[in-house]
C-alpha cells in the first residue's frame, strides 16, 4: 500500500512540472529582455521600459543600471541580451567579446559648471583654458587667461577649487577625450580614460557628488552631465567651438548639432569603435563636449545563454523601437535625441543581428525525457523491489 502511494506521489512530482512546462512552451509568448550597464542612460531606459510595455504587453524589460563597465562584463559572460555603455568597447574588450555590434542609442553633453558669487551662467572658456584649470596651471579666477576671454566680467582674485569624478565613468571618458583633443599638454601628462590620474582637485562620487561640491563650495568648478546641471539650476560656462568663432551654450540643440556633424565619420555597427569620438566637431553651433552612449549586442544572439529564436526577434524589435519611436521621450528627460544620420547607422547595424539556431533544444525532447524517467521510476517503485524510503535503524 505505502509503495503504491509513494509511486503515485513520485509520478505526480515528476509529471506535473513536465506537463506545465510543456503547456507554457506552447501557449506563452511573453518575454523578458535583459540588459545591464550605464547608469547615465537609466532614466531614459526606464521610460522606454514603461512605454514599450504599453504597446507590447508581453514584453518586459529588466534593465540593471550597474555601471557601464559591469554591463560590458555581463555581456562578455553572455548573461544579458544587451549591454549599455557610455564608452565604446576598448581594444581588449573587443577581444573578450568578438562579434559585438555597437548601436548608439542616445547623446549626452557635458557642462563646465562653476560657483562664483555674483557671476551668472555664460562665463566664456576655451578648451586649452579648461585643460589648464584642471591641470592646476591656472589657479586663480582672475588669471589673465580667463579674464581676457571675459572682458567686462569682474572676476574675483580667488583660488579655483577643482572638482572631478572619483568613480570610473563615461562622463570622465568624454571630458578627458575632449581635453586630449584640444590640449597636447593634457594628452601627454594626463590622457584619456574612465579614470585618469588627476594632478589636482577633489573627487566626488557620481554627477551628484561633483554637483554637491560645486554647489556648496564658492569658487569651485567641475564637469557635470548636462541634464543634471539643468535640473539643479547650476551656472555653467559657454565653451568655444571647434571653428573658434563663437562660444556655444550647452543645450540639447547644440549638443545634437555636434553629434550630427560627427556622424559622417562613424564606423559601421560591427566596426572598431574604440577610437570613436564626437567631441569638438565643426559647425558654429556645435557644443564641443559631447558623447554618444551605446547599446551593445551580439551579432549572433544564439550565443547568449537562454536565448531562443523568437525571443531574439523581440530583442531586435525593441532596439528598433528605442532608436526610432523611443527617441521622442528623450527631450522630456533632457537627453539629446539621435539625429537621422546616426539612426541610419543603427538600422544598418540591427539588420545584421541574427539567430543561428540550434543552440537551444526545443522543449519536446526534454518533456519526453522527463516523462520517460517518471514512468520508469513508477514501475521501479511499484514492483516489489526491496527498495524502501523509510530509513531503518
Amino acid at each position: 500500500m505505502t509503495k503504491i502511494i509513494l509511486g503515485l506521489t513520485l509520478m505526480l512530482i515528476l509529471i506535473v512540472p513536465a506537463l506545465s512546462l510543456h503547456a507554457s512552451a506552447q501557449t506563452s509568448q511573453s518575454y523578458t529582455i535583459t540588459g545591464a550597464g550605464s547608469t547615465f542612460v537609466f532614466p531614459l531606459m526606464d521610460t522606454w521600459r514603461v512605454e514599450y510595455n504599453k504597446i507590447h504587453q508581453n514584453i518586459q524589460l529588466n534593465y540593471q543600471s550597474i555601471g557601464s563597465g559591469a554591463g560590458i562584463k555581463l555581456l562578455e559572460q553572455k548573461n544579458v541580451d544587451f549591454a549599455a555603455s557610455d564608452a565604446p568597447l576598448s581594444a581588449s574588450d573587443m577581444q573578450q567579446a568578438p562579434g559585438v555590434l555597437t548601436i548608439p542609442d542616445s547623446i549626452g553633453g557635458i557642462t563646465i559648471a562653476y560657483n562664483i558669487p555674483g557671476i551668472d551662467k555664460g562665463l566664456k572658456l576655451t578648451g586649452p583654458v579648461i585643460a589648464q584649470i584642471f591641470m592646476g596651471d591656472i589657479t586663480s579666477w582672475n588669471d589673465p587667461a580667463i579674464s581676457n576671454l571675459n572682458p567686462g566680467v569682474n572676476l574675483p582674485s580667488q583660488k579655483i577649487v577643482v572638482a572631478h569624478r572619483s568613480d570610473g565613468s563615461g562622463t570622465t571618458y568624454a571630458f578627458t577625450d575632449y581635453l586630449s583633443k584640444v590640449s597636447p599638454d593634457w594628452k601627454t601628462k594626463v590622457g584619456q580614460g574612465k579614470t585618469v590620474p588627476w594632478p589636482i582637485g577633489t573627487g566626488g562620487q557620481g554627477n551628484a557628488g561633483v554637483a554637491s561640491i560645486v554647489k556648496s563650495t564658492q569658487y569651485a568648478i567641475g564637469y557635470i552631465e548636462l541634464a543634471y546641471v539643468f535640473q539643479n539650476k547650476m551656472t555653467y560656462a559657454f565653451v568655444q567651438n571647434a571653428d573658434g568663432n563663437s562660444f556655444v551654450e550647452p543645450t540639447l540643440d547644440t549638443v545634437a548639432a555636434d553629434a550630427a556633424a560627427a556622424s559622417t565619420n562613424l564606423p559601421a555597427a560591427d566596426g572598431d569603435w574604440s577610437q570613436v569620438s564626437i567631441v569638438n566637431q565643426p559647425g558654429s553651433n556645435s557644443y564641443p563636449i559631447s558623447t554618444l552612449t551605446y547599446v551593445m549586442i551580439y551579432k549572433d544572439l544564439s550565443t547568449v545563454s537562454g536565448e531562443t529564436s523568437d525571443k531574439s526577434t523581440e530583442v531586435i524589435n525593441f532596439l528598433h523601437w528605442i532608436i526610432n519611436d523611443g527617441q521622442q521621450y528623450s527631450t522630456g528627460l533632457l537627453y539629446v535625441p539621435l539625429p537621422d544620420s546616426i539612426k541610419k547607422i543603427d538600422e544598418a547595424g540591427l539588420s545584421q543581428v541574427a539567430f543561428s539556431g540550434g543552440a537551444v533544444p526545443e522543449f519536446g525532447p526534454i518533456a519526453a525525457l522527463v516523462l520517460a524517467i517518471a514512468i520508469a521510476s513508477i514501475i521501479a517503485v511499484s514492483t516489489k523491489t526491496r527498495f524502501g524510503f523509510n530509513p531503518k535503524f
Partner: protein, 322 residues
Amino acid sequence: MMAIKMKKGSPITDKIFKYVAIGAATYVLVIIIMIVVNLTTGSAQVWQQEGISFLTGSDWNSVEGRESYGAAPYIMGTLVNAGIAMAISIPLSFGIAMFLSELAPKLLRTPLAMVIELLAAVPSVVYGLWGLLVFRTYIQNWIEVPLHNLFGDQSIIFAGTPFGLDILTASIILAIMIVPTIASISKEIMLAVPNSQREAAYMLGATKWEVFRIAVLPYSKSGLIGATILGLGRAVGETMAVTMLIGNATGAAAFPSSLFGPGQTLASIMANEFAEASQGGLHLAALVGIGLILFLMAFAINVVAHLLVAKVVKSHEGAVLA
C-alpha cells in the same frame, strides 16, 4: 527537583548532529581560504608587473598604455584616517561607558544604552550623506576656516583649501560611526566587573574615580582593548561614508600630508573604481591587490588584538574578556 525525561538517543541523530556541526565550522575556514586564493590569483598580474613597488609606489594611472599602480598613498591614507578616528572616538566612548556603568542613575542607564545601540545600527550611507550635505559645512565654517586663517599655509597639516571634503571630515564622521560600537561593548565589560571589587575599594575610602582606577579598570582592561580593536576593524574597512567625504584624490596627491587635503583609503579606491575597471585588465588586478592588502591589514589587526588581550589576561587573573 524535576526529573528530566530523555528519549533514548539514536546513533543516527548523533551522527547527523556531528556532521552538521563540523560542516558549519568548516564553512568559515573554506570561505577564508577561498577569499585568500581568489584575492591572490586575481591580483597576480599586478604583483608580476609592479613587484614590491605596488606596496611602495605612489603612481596610480589607469590610462591605457600608461598603466602603473602603487598603493602606498592609500595604505597611508587608511592608517591616518583610522588613527585620527580612533584618537577622537576612544576618549569619547570610554567616557560614555564610564558614565553608564559607574555614574548614571539606573533610570537613565537603560534608555541611554538603547540610544547608543540604535546609533550603531544606522547604515553608513546615511552617515555619509549627512556628512556630505550637512555636517561638512559646519566643519568647514567652524573648524577648518578658523584654523586655516590662524596657521595658514605655513603649517603643513593645516595647508590647502579648507572646504570640508578632506581627511579631517572623513575621520570625524568615522569617529562618530565607531563610538557606539566601542561605547556599548565597553559599558557591558565595565558592568561585568564584580561589585565586590567596587565595594572593597569603597571600604578603603576610595573616591569614585579611585574606585574606577583601582577596581574597575584592571579587571576590564583586556575587554576594553578588545572593544577598541573592534572599532578599529570597522574604521579600517569602512567604505561608503569615507568615499563620500575623503575627497578621493589619486596617486601622489592622495598622500595624507594635510588635514585639509583630499585623501583616499584602500576601501574607498575600490568603491570608486571597481565598477568600471575593464575585465581581465591590470586595473582590475590592481584593485583586487588593494583588496588583498586590506584583508591582510584587517588580519594583522586581529592577530595583534589577540596577542594584546592574551598578555593582559596573563597579568590579571580573572579579567573580563570581550
